[in-house]
Amino acid sequence: MALTHTDNAHLFATASSTLRLIGYLALAIVLMVTDHRGGYLERIRWAMSIAIEPMYRIAALPSQLARKAGLALSDREQLTEQNAELSRKLLLAEAQLKRLTAVREQNQRLQELLDVQRSIAISVQLAKIIDVDTDPFRHRLLLNVGANQGVKIGQAVIDAHGIMGQVVETLPNTATVMLITDPAHALPVTLERTGLRTIARGSGALDTLELPNIPVSADVKVGDKLISSGLGGHFPAGFPVAEVRSISNDVTGMFAAATATPIAALDRSGEVLLLHELPDPIGPPDLAPVAGPPANLAGDAAGPLPTKTRP
C-alpha cells in the first residue's frame, strides 16, 4: 500500500513537472513568435539599456586590457619600425589626398558648369568598436556610439578600405552593425569595370560574399572590383565593396555564381566611420504642399509657394 502511495506521489510529481515544462515552453514560443512579428525586443532592450550597456563595457574589458598589455610589452624596435611604416604611409596618403583635392575642385567646377546641385562632401562620425560577441554565427559589431550621439538605423558603416555594413539597432549609447557578410545581408553592387549591376549577399564566412544570379554571358573576371551601386537607397554609391575571387556555374546552369572577398577589414577591430550622407532619394520627389488658397488668389502677402526639398 505504501509502495503504491509513493508511486502515485512520484507519478504526480513527474506529471506536474512535465506540465510546468509544457507551460514554460508554450510561453517561450509565444514570446518568440510575437517578438518575431512585432520586434518588441528592441523596445525592451532600450528600456533595459542602463543595465545592458555596462555589461557590454565590462565584457569588453579583458580584450582591451590584452591589447593595452600587448602595446606596453611590444619592444622598442617593433614600435620604431611601425612608426616608420606609418609615416611612410601618411606621406603617401597625403600626396594622394592633395591630388584628390585638386580633382575634387575640378569636379566641383565641372558640376557647377553642368548646374548639378549636389554636394559630394560626406559627413562622417568616428566610432569605436566595442569588442563584444553576441552570436558567432551572425556577423554583428557593437559600436560605442548610439542614439544619443545621433546614430540612426540604416546608416552605412565604412572603414579605410570599403563598406563594412549598416546599423541595424541602436541603444542610447551603443549601436549594433550588421556586417555585409552576415547571411541575412544583401547589398546592391556594380562591377567597376563593366558596370554590371548585381547583388552581393553575405555568406556567413567573414572573407566571402556571394554573387548569385549573374547572367552566364556577363563579362566577369577574377579580380574585378565591386563598388556599391546606391540602388535601393541604403548605401551611397561608389564605395568599394569587394573583389571577385572565383566564378563558377550555379547548379541550374542558367546563371553564373561568383564569390568575392570583402575589401573592408571586417575581422579587425578598431575604429570605423559612420556615414551621415543620405543616399539619393528613390522615386519621384515629394509633391509640393498645397495648403491654403492657390498662389494666384492669395495676393502678394503669401509670395511664391514654398517647395519642399528632400535632404
Binding site: S17, H36, A59, D135
Partner: protein
C-alpha cells in the same frame, strides 16, 4: 553571514560571470569553440542544489540572456528550460556518474540544445549555419570537468569558513 546567503551570492555571481563570458570576444579562430557557459553553470547548480534551480529560474535567466544578446526574445529561455527539465529528471542518475560519463551526457545534452536552436532558427526563416556550429558542444564537454571541480572546490571552501 548564513549559509543560504553565501550560496545565493555564489550562485548569482556565477551566473553573472557566465553572462560576461558569453559576451566576451575571442579570436576569430576560437569563436566556434566557445561553450554555452550559461547552460553549463545552470546544469551544475541543477545537479548540486536542485531546490534552487527550477524551470522558472532557467526561464528567467534565459530571458535575461536574450535581452543581453539581442536575439529573439524567449529563444534562450526555451533552450535552458528544456535543458533544466532533462537534468532535473535524470538528476539522481547523473549525479553519481563518473566524471567522464557525466561529460559525455553533457555533450549529448548540449548537442540536443544545438538541435533545438537550429529548429528555432529554421522556424524564424534563417539560413542554415556553417559546420562549425556543431563544435561548441565538444568545447562544452571539455570545459565541464574543470567547471565542476572549480565550483565544488569553491563551495567546499566556503563551507569550511562557516564552521
Amino acid at each position: 553571514m548564513n549559509r543560504a546567503r553565501t550560496n545565493a551570492i555564489l550562485f548569482w555571481s556565477s551566473v553573472v560571470l557566465c553572462f560576461l563570458l558569453q559576451l566576451m570576444p575571442l579570436p576569430q579562430a576560437l569563436l566556434p569553440f566557445k561553450p554555452y557557459w550559461l547552460a553549463l553553470i545552470l546544469v551544475y547548480w541543477a545537479l548540486e542544489t536542485p531546490e534552487r534551480v527550477g524551470l522558472g529560474l532557467a526561464f528567467i535567466v534565459g530571458l535575461i540572456g536574450d535581452a543581453l544578446t539581442g536575439e529573439l526574445l524567449g529563444e534562450q529561455a526555451l533552450r535552458l528550460c528544456i535543458l533544466c527539465f532533462i537534468i532535473l529528471r535524470f538528476r539522481s542518475r547523473l549525479r553519481f556518474f563518473p566524471m567522464w560519463q557525466q561529460s559525455l551526457a553533457l555533450f549529448v545534452l548540449l548537442l540536443n540544445d544545438r538541435v533545438v536552436l537550429l529548429m528555432i532558427r529554421a522556424c524564424a526563416g534563417e539560413p542554415s549555419p556553417p559546420a562549425a556550429f556543431w563544435l561548441a558542444p565538444v568545447a562544452g564537454m571539455l570545459a565541464w570537468p574543470w567547471l565542476f571541480l572549480l565550483f565544488d572546490d569553491l563551495r567546499a571552501r566556503l563551507r569550511v569558513h562557516e564552521t
